[in-house]
């Protein structure tokens, strides 16, 4: 499993990456692997508000449904639309092509409460025990 060092992680297995005044959000390698083949993703629309810790969408495999929780509060400014036709991208490339939404963040301090790579890896380890 791969957990890039430049990302921040949540305990719900989302990642985020700072890009200017935006934050790019997706799900982790661990999340895509435990879900299995992803067949469907439901994302918000540009302009929708998202709130830290609250659901912003849904991702589905054939046997499971998982809600997506926003790591930050803000407004959706871009959505990875091609995912709806090619949800397998999330399995294949969770951190680059498989990104889900970009959020214009009001308060970057929110990111401080998120996990770094080491902390996230430790968390997964504990969760599986």
């Amino acid at each position: 499993m791969n957990y890039p060092d430049d990302l921040k992680y949540t305990k719900e297995h989302e990642w985020c990456r700072v890009k200017g005044n935006r934050v790019v959000v997706g799900i982790t390698d661990h999340a895509q692997d435990s879900l299995g083949d992803i067949v469907y993703v439901e994302l918000p629309e540009v302009g929708d508000p998202v709130k830290k810790g609250e659901a912003f969408g849904v991702v589905e495999s054939t046997k499971a449904v998982s809600e997506l929780f926003s790591p930050v509060t803000g407004k959706v400014v871009e959505v990875n639309d091609p995912l709806s036709d090619a949800p397998e991208t999330i399995n294949e490339d969770p951190y680059e092509e498989g990104w889900m939404i970009q959020v214009e963040v009001a308060d970057f301090k929110e990111l401080d409460t998120l996990l770094d790579t080491a902390a996230y890896q430790k968390f997964i380890q504990e969760e599986s025990e």
Binding site: T62, P87, E88
Partner: protein, 521 residues
């Protein structure tokens, strides 16, 4: 030089081992035909498989009906003769495994033999040709039958009254929770929550959501049972009810049920019993005697009514005295020697109303009553006893090779896991698919959700000891093969008309109907 095909001598032997001639359940490769869809069969447009009087052509629909509503013949419909249709469905049938084909230990579904007598009886013209809105004097036979069944189900479950009308178990649940809600509303407050153990069928939480109740999930204990202290901790005056399946989906009797019911009742809540597993208790114990206030039957499980392909079901609901005013309509009543249906709210002002058109799945009532009449009191009790015996026999004979997550006594079904196979890489799904090659329908897999890699086996009382022995042999052989030839298990099924199907593709690009020129390859 490289071997382009990858062939090596040992492969033939391996292949032979994987495709044994006769499975433990007797399966071989039979004659199976490829069969196109009805719509893909090239045919002369003039063919038809029915014999009807020819229309006279005298009354012209164009004279009366607006032209914009009239359609021409539907061009995509097939045009087939009777024999073509007969062969089509006969060939399709050969692609299926039914109880009539072989053992079908699909846990929680109670796949027992469906008596052929019942089919003949349901087709008696007096039943089959009765219109649901016949005047009562022309339908006294149907009404008496419903009355008899209502009485029998009430006695079997230990409740004073039963409604027959819900169309299936899940609709029975819906009806039950609606009555619970109506009961609380009549006391001034519908309340907010329903408690549900983590072993419950998915229909339970879905039913609560439909009724606007929030679901509070309760953890079952290490023994697979729900404990009174768990319920006590979650119970308050916002809780409308608890929904409990007994025996639960692990096949374990909730032995604290009386105390749990007392805890719930003390705070004004009601106790809903999911009767999906009633087969285990027939003639041995009655939910109405355990503190339940309401429970649904699944006639297609406990009383062997057919449900090929996923229905029809029938989900009568039995209730305690305090819920009788809320029963749905219609209700059949006996007045002297005359039977009639109560259909109007004015006779039952507190009724929740109608949940299904007409009176319910009457055809299933005929079959269920026929079975109850043939069994009589001793036969009903023997049904519960032998269902439990068969499950315990299978459990005893398999527990040394498959992991048993709960040592607690089983009733009518037993849940194993794939934990013991873990070193081999063979999973529950692989075991299930390999059983197909042996000639068995797989058990229920990956349910209940609280058990990882669950294999839930419910043999039912109608199976012989020889069949159970063959199934045990098959299960043991698969476990053995998992050690020696895990790839062979993972390649299964090899004998079925189709290998494992690509469910991911089906879900990513749903094709839910035929269209001209459709290609799926």
């Amino acid at each position: 030089m490289a071997n382009p095909t990858g062939w090596k001598p040992s492969m033939e032997a391996e292949a032979a081992a994987r495709t044994f001639d006769v499975g433990a359940g007797g399966a071989t490769r039979g004659i199976a035909y490829e069969e196109k869809l009805l719509f893909e069969r090239g045919s002369a447009g003039g063919r038809s498989g029915v014999s009807l009087p020819a229309p006279s052509g005298r009354a012209d629909p164009r004279d009366e009906l607006p032209a914009e509503l009239l359609r021409a013949e539907i061009a995509e419909l097939p045009a087939l003769g009777e024999l073509e249709v007969v062969r089509h469905f006969t060939r399709l049938s050969a692609w299926n495994h039914g109880i009539d084909t072989g053992f079908y230990p699909l846990g929680s579904c109670t796949m027992k033999y469906n008596p052929k007598s019942s089919e003949a009886l349901a087709r008696l013209p007096g039943f089959a040709n009765a219109h649901p809105l016949l005047p009562a004097e022309l339908a006294q036979g149907s009404l008496e039958l419903m009355y008899q069944l209502e009485r029998a189900l009430s006695e079997i479950s230990g409740f004073p009254a039963t409604t027959l009308t819900p169309a299936a178990g899940a609709q029975g649940e819906l009806t039950g929770v609606m009555m619970i809600r109506a009961y609380h509303v009549a006391r001034g407050n519908p309340r907010k929550k329903v408690l549900i153990p983590d072993t419950a069928h998915g229909t339970n939480p879905a039913t609560c959501a439909l009724n606007g109740y929030e679901v509070v999930q309760l953890a079952s204990g290490a023994d697979g049972r729900l404990h009174p202290e768990t319920v006590r901790a979650a119970m308050d005056e916002d809780v409308a009810a608890i929904m409990i399946t007994n025996p639960n989906t692990l096949g374990i009797f909730e032995s604290h049920i009386a105390e749990i019911a007392a805890v719930v009742h003390a705070k004004g809540g009601l106790v809903y019993g999911d009767g999906a597993n009633l087969n285990a208790l027939l003639g041995v114990a009655r939910p109405g005697d355990m503190g339940f206030d309401v429970m649904q039957f699944n006639l297609h499980k406990t009383f062997a009514t057919p449900h090929g392909g996923g229905g029809p079901g029938s989900g009568p609901v039995a209730v305690s005295e305090n819920l009788i005013p809320f029963l749905p309509l219609p209700q059949v009543v006996k007045e002297g020697e005359h039977y009639r249906l109560v259909t109007e709210d004015r006779e039952r002002p507190q009724s929740i109303g109608k949940v299904r058109e007409f009176h319910g799945n009457f055809g299933m009532f005929v079959r269920a009553l026929a079975l109850i009449r043939e069994y009589g009191p001793e036969g009903l009790r023997a049904t519960g006893q032998l269902a439990v015996l068969n499950a315990n026999y299978v459990r005893a004979r398999l527990k040394d090779v498959y992991d048993l997550p709960y040592e607690t006594d089983s009733l009518h079904e037993v849940v194993f896991t794939d934990k013991a196979l873990k070193p081999t890489g063979v999973t529950t799904m692989d075991v299930a698919k390999r059983l197909i090659d042996h000639g068995f329908h797989p058990p229920t897999v990956y349910f209940p959700l609280v058990v990882h890699g669950a294999l839930m086996i419910e043999p039912t009382e109608t199976e012989t000891k020889e069949t159970l022995d063959r199934f045990v042999d098959g299960m043991r052989q698969v476990a053995e093969q998992a050690k020696t030839d895990p790839e062979g298990v993972k390649a299964a099924p090899l004998k079925s008309v189709r290998a494992r199907l690509d469910e991911v593709r089906a879900a990513r690009k749903p094709i839910l109907r035929w269209r001209p020129g459709m290609k799926v390859e």
